[in-house]
C-alpha cells in the first residue's frame, strides 16, 4: 500500500494513511494524553511492526492566543503572560521579552540589574536541565526516582525564587530597564550555599544514570540528528550543540554581561539522545561556574533605570528582535511598535516548537518505544509550542 497525505491539501486532516489499512501498516495516535508527551501533544505514528515509517505531530491543544492578547494590552501587561510560555523557565522568558522592549525603546540597564538577570537565568537553567533529565528517565520507565531527586533540587531553587519575587514559578520579576525588587545579602548568601551544594546533586544524578546499562542502549544511537539537518531545521540550544555545532547565543550575541564571564560551551559528537542527555549535565556544571562568577562580581548600585516609566510606555515606531539563550534554545521576541501603548505586532520565536520540526526525521526507522525517548530528549514544553 502507498503512504500519502490523503491526496488532500496539507493540514486539512490529521490522518496519515489513505483509506483502509490492509493490516501491514498500523496507524497509532500517541497522545494527547499520553504521559510521555509532556503535556497535550499528539503524534500520529504509522507503524510497520514496531518500526516507525511515518510520523506526524499534531499540536494546538494548549493554544491560548498569547500573541494576540499581547497586541491588545500594554507592554507592561505582557510580562506576566510571558511567564506562562515555558512555565518552567519564567525568568528567561521575562528576560527575552524585556530585552526586546529595551532594544525597541533604546533603554539602558544598570549593571547590577544585568548581574541579577544572569544569576536568576542560570538558576533557571539549572532547574530546567535537572528536571529534563528526570523526565527523560521517567519516560524510559525509571518511575519516579531520578525525577524526584531532580524535583527535590528544583524545590530549593523555587524556594529562592519565592523569597525573591513572591511566586515560585510565575515570577513576573523583570521590568524594562531592570528588575522589580532588589536582592538582599541574605538571599545572595542562600544562592552561594545552593551553588556549593549543587555539584553533589549532579554527581548523584550522574552516578545514578550515566553508566546505567539499561539507560545506555535506550539512548545511545537512538534518534540521531545530523549536524546538517539540525542547522537546516533551525534547531537551537542543547539539541543543536549535541549534534556538534558550537552555537550558543550567550557567546554569539554576548547580551547582558555574559562577555565578561568565563564559561565553556559543551559540544556533543554523535547527536543521539545520549549526547543530548549528557549536554544537559555538562551545561549544569557550566551554569554553576557562571553563577559563582556572577555572585563574586555583582556590584552595588541601582537595580532599575528610574527614567523608564512603568505605565503608558510608548516606544517610538520601529521594530526590534531580542533573543536570548533560554534553557531550551533561542527564545526571541519580535516586536513592531507603531507608537501606541500596545505593540502592533508581537511574535514569539519559541525554541520548543522549532526544535520539534525534525522530529519525524529523528524517529523514522526507530522503534515505537524510542519515539518516547527522542521526544523526551528534545525538551519541549507545550505552553511554548502552542502559545
Amino acid at each position: 500500500m502507498t503512504l500519502s497525505l490523503q491526496g488532500q491539501p496539507l493540514g486539512t486532516s490529521t490522518r496519515l494513511l489513505d483509506g483502509e489499512a490492509d493490516g501491514s501498516i498500523l496507524e497509532v495516535s500517541m497522545g494527547p494524553h499520553h504521559p510521555s508527551t509532556h503535556g497535550v501533544f499528539r503524534m500520529n505514528v504509522a507503524l510497520d511492526g514496531e518500526t516507525v515509517v511515518k510520523l506526524k505531530p499534531v499540536f494546538g491543544y494548549l493554544h491560548r492566543n498569547h500573541e494576540k492578547i499581547a497586541e491588545s494590552i500594554s507592554y507592561l501587561g505582557s510580562i506576566p503572560y510571558s511567564d506562562r510560555l515555558d512555565y518552567f523557565c519564567s525568568m528567561t522568558n521575562n528576560w527575552a521579552y524585556v530585552l526586546s522592549v529595551e532594544k525597541l525603546g533604546g533603554f539602558a540597564v544598570p549593571e547590577r540589574a544585568e548581574y541579577i538577570r544572569v544569576i536568576v537565568a542560570e538558576m533557571t537553567r539549572l532547574l530546567n536541565h535537572g528536571c529534563l533529565i528526570g523526565f527523560l528517565a521517567q519516560d524510559l520507565g525509571a518511575m519516579g526516582t531520578p525525577l524526584m531527586y531532580a524535583f527535590r533540587q528544583r524545590e530549593k531553587i523555587l524556594d529562592l525564587f519565592e523569597a525573591l519575587t513572591g511566586a515560585r514559578m510565575m515570577c513576573n520579576y523583570m521590568r524594562f530597564g531592570g528588575v522589580r525588587v532588589d536582592l538582599s545579602p541574605e538571599w545572595l548568601q542562600a544562592v552561594r550555599k545552593l551553588v556549593d551544594e549543587y555539584p553533589a546533586f549532579i554527581d548523584e544524578l550522574e552516578a545514578l544514570l550515566s553508566e546505567n546499562e539499561i539507560l545506555k542502549p535506550r539512548l545511545q544511537e537512538v534518534g540521531v540528528l545530523s549536524r546538517e539537518l539540525a542547522v537546516q531545521a533551525g534547531v537551537t540550544g542543547p539539541g543543536l550543540r549535541a549534534s556538534g555545532v558550537p552555537y550558543d547565543i550567550r557567546k554569539v550575541d554576548g547580551y547582558g554581561v555574559y562577555p565578561r564571564l568565563q564559561f565553556r560551551v559543551p559540544i556533543g559528537e554523535h547527536g543521539d539522545c545520549y549526547d543530548r542527555y549528557m549536554i544537559r549535565l555538562l551545561e549544569m556544571r557550566e551554569s554553576l561556574v557562571l553563577l559563582k562568577q556572577a555572585l563574586d562580581q555583582i556590584p552595588a548600585g541601582p537595580f532599575t533605570n528610574p527614567q523608564i516609566k512603568l505605565r503608558n510606555l510608548r516606544p517610538k515606531a520601529g521594530e526590534a528582535y531580542g533573543r536570548i539563550e533560554a534553557p531550551k534554545g533561542e527564545l526571541g521576541f519580535y516586536l513592531i511598535s507603531d507608537g501606541k501603548g500596545e505593540p502592533y505586532r508581537y511574535r514569539v520565536r519559541p525554541p520548543s516548537l522549532i526544535n520539534l520540526t525534525p522530529l519525524e526525521d529523528m524517529c523514522l526507522g526507530q522503534n515505537i518505544a524510542d519515539v518516547v525517548a527522542i521526544l523526551g530528549s528534545i525538551d519541549i514544553v507545550l505552553g511554548e509550542v502552542d502559545r
Binding site: G77, L164, G166, R180, E211, K216
Partner: protein, 187 residues
C-alpha cells in the same frame, strides 16, 4: 563488568533511602496540612484593599481612580465610582470587585497604584465547590486593615507607611506655606 552501572545507581538510591531516616537534609517533605512550612514574607497571591485606622469606609485609601482596572492584564478588576445625589464623584469606590478565579497574582495592580491602596494577600486555602460566587470578591471581602498588611509584609508595610507620612507632611507644609502667603494679601 556488566551491571556495575545499575549497582552504582542502586547505591545512590540506598544512600537516599537510608539517609532519610537520620538526615534532615534528605527528608524534604512535610505532612501538610498537619505540618506547615512558614510562609515567605514576599509571598503573594491575590490583592486586597488597605484601610487606615479602625473605620474600613472612612480610612479606605482607594479613590476609585481605576488605574489598576485599566492596567490589569487579566482584566479581573471592576470598579465603579461612588457619586453623591448631584452626580459629583465622591472619590470612593461604590463597587470594587476582583474575580480571583481570573486573577493571576501578577501584582501589577500593586505596582501601578499611586495611593498604595491595593496590596497582595497571602490567603491560599480558598478552595470551594461553588464555581462563581465565593471567588468573586466584593468590596467588603477585600477591605482589610493596615495592621493586617503589617502582619503579612512587615518591612514593605513600614516603608509604605513612612512614604505616605512623608507625603502627608509635605502636603501639610505646602498648605501652611500657601496659607502664610495668602495671609498678608488678605490682611
Amino acid at each position: 563488568m556488566l551491571g556495575t552501572g545499575i549497582v552504582n545507581g542502586m547505591v545512590q538510591t540506598a544512600k537516599n533511602f537510608l539517609g532519610s531516616f537520620h538526615d534532615a537534609e534528605r527528608m524534604v517533605t512535610v505532612q501538610y496540612p498537619e505540618q506547615r512550612l512558614p510562609i515567605k514574607e514576599n509571598y503573594r497571591n491575590f490583592p486586597f484593599l488597605v484601610h487606615d485606622g479602625n473605620d474600613p469606609d472612612a480610612g479606605l485609601r482607594c479613590v476609585a481612580c481605576k488605574t489598576c482596572e485599566t492596567e490589569c492584564p487579566a482584566e479581573c478588576i471592576f470598579i465603579e465610582m461612588l457619586r453623591d445625589p448631584a452626580g459629583k464623584p465622591a472619590k470612593r469606590p461604590k463597587v470594587f470587585d476582583i474575580d480571583i478565579s481570573v486573577c493571576m497574582g501578577c501584582q501589577i495592580c500593586v505596582e501601578v497604584c499611586p495611593f498604595d491602596a491595593i496590596k497582595m494577600d497571602q490567603i491560599f486555602e480558598i478552595a470551594t465547590t461553588d464555581r462563581f460566587n465565593p471567588l468573586l470578591l466584593k468590596k467588603e471581602d477585600l477591605i482589610k486593615s493596615n495592621d493586617y498588611y503589617h502582619s503579612l509584609h512587615p518591612i514593605e508595610a513600614s516603608e509604605v507607611d513612612a512614604r505616605l507620612e512623608a507625603d502627608r507632611q509635605k502636603k501639610l507644609a505646602a498648605a501652611a506655606a500657601k496659607a502664610k502667603a495668602a495671609t498678608p494679601a488678605a490682611g
